[in-house]
């Protein structure tokens, strides 16, 4: 018998000024989701079932940037993406651009197990979710007041945020002489990024 182990994350790049209360809330959510995984492993669940169950729980809790509590596009909408991979046979499934599927990670697993493909996106992914009978909700379910505020700050700072840092007021870099009207990503002038 091997020894089981589990590790989870809620995102990297944390605002150094994150209030103590938010830090404690983050740790509570992490501890709760970790325990779900530990209990399942003790009960003999497979690695694949455990990663899906734990990520579903993290998607459902609005604290982290996934599922409910997802970051917002510049239009104020939510477009989510997820992937799952089974080391046994290196099978995998992925989805992008989903906006009504309550748990994107479960749709990614259906893509892996019930479709001839490994990646579905946008309307095709949404259609497959309905075919598979997965739970769907209105896009507003995923949008939180906190993130509406964060989007406003990001727009004022003319920046794209990859992490939980609160954007400073118009970043000095935003005035840097770079093309794309001073757009900043991750606190740096977007011009340093090779086109995606």
């Amino acid at each position: 018998m091997a020894r089981w182990a589990i590790t989870i994350h809620g995102g990297a790049g944390v605002d150094p000024k994150l209030p103590e209360q938010s830090q404690e809330e983050a740790k509570r959510v992490l501890a709760r989701c970790l325990q779900i995984g530990v209990d399942a492993l003790r009960a003999g669940s497979s690695a694949l079932d455990v990663v899906e169950a734990v990520v579903r729980e993290l998607e459902t809790d609005p604290f982290f940037n996934s599922g409910r509590g997802s970051a917002l596009t510049r239009r104020g909408t939510v477009e989510m993406e997820a992937s799952i991979m089974d080391g046994r046979g290196r099978r995998c499934g992925a989805v992008s651009g989903v906006s009504t599927v309550k748990n994107p990670v479960s749709l990614a697993r259906r893509v892996m197990e019930n479709s001839p493909h490994s990646y579905l996106a946008f309307e095709g992914a949404e259609e497959f979710a309905r075919d598979q009978g997965l739970e769907t909700v209105d896009n507003s379910y995923f949008i939180t007041e906190d993130n509406i505020g964060m989007l406003k700050l990001a727009k004022e700072a003319n920046t794209i945020l990859f992490d939980y840092r609160i954007p400073d007021t118009c970043s000095a870099l935003a005035g840097a002489d770079n093309h794309k009207n001073g757009m900043v990503m991750n606190g740096l002038p977007i011009s340093i990024y090779a086109p995606e």
């Binding site: 989870i8 669940s45 690695a47 990520v55 997820a82 990859f162």
Partner: protein
């Protein structure tokens, strides 16, 4: 972005990652999380889930690289994680979590903090944010 990497009692590994992406992103933008080999990877050696600057994680195929340096350079899990975070991200900022088929857990990040938790069968359990 959230993620999970697990090895079960049979020694089988799996990983999953899920995200809303970047705040104020363009509609239609795809990041690293759904890209197998970048944001998520699992094989018979290990399982990995990444988070951070998607563009940097994509360019470095970060999740697959952890498995690759274990496979080809014979590094242990934490060594492989440290090597990839240190050597593969160029100017990018990211973090990752990983498990190995032998029941080890590891993580690494080169930015300010990463929300993370880990537990092993021998009773070790940790939840953390900062270094």
């Amino acid at each position: 972005t959230v993620g999970c990497a697990v090895v079960d009692s049979n020694g089988f590994c799996a990983a999953a990652t899920s995200t809303g992406g970047l705040m104020n992103k363009m509609t239609g933008r795809i990041g690293d999380s759904p890209l197998i080999g970048s944001g998520t990877y699992a094989c018979d050696l290990c399982a990995v889930s990444c988070t951070g600057e998607g563009e940097a994680i994509i360019r470095s195929t970060l999740a697959r690289d952890v498995a690759a340096v274990m496979e080809y350079k014979g590094l242990a899990l934490q060594e492989a994680v440290d090597f990839c975070v240190k050597e593969r991200l160029d100017e990018g900022f990211a973090g990752l979590i990983a498990v190995s088929k032998t029941g080890e857990v590891a993580y690494g990040f080169n930015c300010t903090g990463m929300f993370r938790g880990c537990a092993t069968e021998d009773g070790f359990m940790e939840v953390g944010i900062w270094e």
